[in-house]
């Protein structure tokens, strides 16, 4: 009865913090207001909605859309890092494993940025230093000359060994996708391993991650099919460990010759309804948007269960990520002159 559960984690403290933070997130009516604004007005609006420090810090050297995009990412990184710092025990382990995806994201941004010849500042604008790698460590990675050095240094810090055959495949084809898919695979495998299945909430989180794997696999199949790739070629990019799509269905989806012929198999999956119309219309963008909306609905549903667990923390991080994504979509859409209905259709609310 009196055993101190130091290893279990400080759920009450962290959950109360994220619940308070969640109440300050932008609501649908905020997005409606922002849809009527110009980019400088959106910048002012979000400054009053919790992004003021980052906007003020960066306003000296950046402006317009770039300022808004960079400030939202920096804000998100700071918020996630503060959640991680305030967690302890197994909660810290799970949050940390979940946030590792930003290390993978940052490495992808650096490799892509380098391959397109962007300078350090250009690359930095898209970084989200919310994982194990701090902004300084990321700067060190950016300063390295070759991709091999970057991958070796990344591997040392995050303990992700990238096999030689993956590096050789990248070198021979020049396609970064090979490395990116490998990193995604490693991330999900590690995340699934990190979840201790000792309680019902952990089991729910485990199932949620496995569903994310399903969504990710479905998205990969869609994107490859849009480029005319199917069959064995697709299978090697898929991540194992999903919950809703078994190996047989995964193989059938991968072997379908085009997107509309995936409808039958897709209808047996939980998110089948969300993507059906888009698959029929051969529209990858809408299908991916349908998947995002499904993910958001799923997160909303499971956030109401088990108040003292990792679930509200993950739910907040998902919502924060969507908030940042929505702000960026509105700002970009407004800047490029898209009409309001189209932009609203792209939001995940």
């Amino acid at each position: 009865m009196f055993r101190r559960n130091r290893g279990r984690g400080n759920y009450s403290y962290t959950v109360a913090r994220v619940k308070a933070k969640k109440s300050l997130l932008l609501k649908e009516e905020d997005y409606d207001k922002m849809l009527m604004m110009t980019v400088p007005e959106i910048s002012r609006y979000i400054s009053e909605a919790g992004y003021s420090k980052e906007m003020a810090d960066l306003a000296g050297r950046l402006s317009g859309l770039i300022l808004l995009e960079h400030a939202t990412y920096i804000n998100m990184a700071k918020v996630f890092s503060s959640i991680l710092r305030s967690s302890t025990g197994e909660l810290y382990e799970m949050v940390s494993a979940y946030l590792d995806k930003w290390d993978v994201w940052n490495l992808k941004v650096i490799l892509r940025g380098k391959s397109y010849g962007l300078d350090a500042d250009g690359i930095r604008e898209d970084l989200v230093p919310a994982g194990r790698l701090s902004a300084e460590s990321l700067d060190k990675l950016i300063a390295l000359d070759t991709d091999e050095d970057i991958l070796a240094s990344f591997g040392k810090t995050t303990h992700v060994e990238i096999p030689q055959e993956i590096i050789s495949a990248y070198k021979s084809s020049g396609n970064l996708g090979v490395i990116e898919d490998f990193l995604d695979k490693v991330h999900y495998e590690r995340l699934i391993k990190s979840i201790s299945l000792t309680s019902r909430p952990s089991q729910l989180f485990y199932d949620y991650v496995r569903e994310q794997v399903d969504v990710k696999n479905f998205e990969t199949i869609l994107k490859l099919k849009a480029e005319g790739i199917y069959g064995e070629q697709v299978t090697k990019y898929l991540i194992r460990g999903g919950r809703m799509i078994d190996d047989r269905t995964l193989a059938l989806l991968a072997n379908a010759e085009d997107i509309p012929s995936m409808v039958n198999e897709a209808s047996q999956i939980d998110f089948g309804e969300e993507v059906k119309a888009a698959l029929d219309a051969n529209n990858v963008r809408d299908a991916v948007l349908g998947l995002r909306k499904y993910e958001r609905q799923k997160a909303k549903k499971f956030s109401r269960l088990y108040p003292l667990s990792v679930i509200p923390v993950i739910d907040y991080m998902i919502n924060k990520e969507y908030e940042v994504r929505n702000i960026r979509v509105i700002a970009r859409g407004t800047e490029s002159g898209l009409d309001r209905d189209t932009i609203k259709g792209l939001l995940v609310i």
């Binding site: 009450s12 403290y13 962290t14 959950v15 109360a16 913090r17 308070a20 933070k21």
Partner: protein, 76 residues
Amino acid sequence: MALEGEAAGLAAIGAGLAVGLTGIGAGMGEKDVGAAAVGAMTEDRSIFGTAMIFMVIPETIVIFGLVIAIIALFAL
């Protein structure tokens, strides 16, 4: 009517247990409430008053224990 001898001793033990155990129970409850209150106040300092009220709610259990202890010691 005051208790005497062995009965008075048992009543004193009972009073001690009533206050002690409710104190431990309140402490266990306050651990989570207090942590959550501090967490919420970190984000929003204006809720100090509300958080304080929630903090002291588990303390009421100790008052029940104290009442039982007083009854055991003086009213039996």
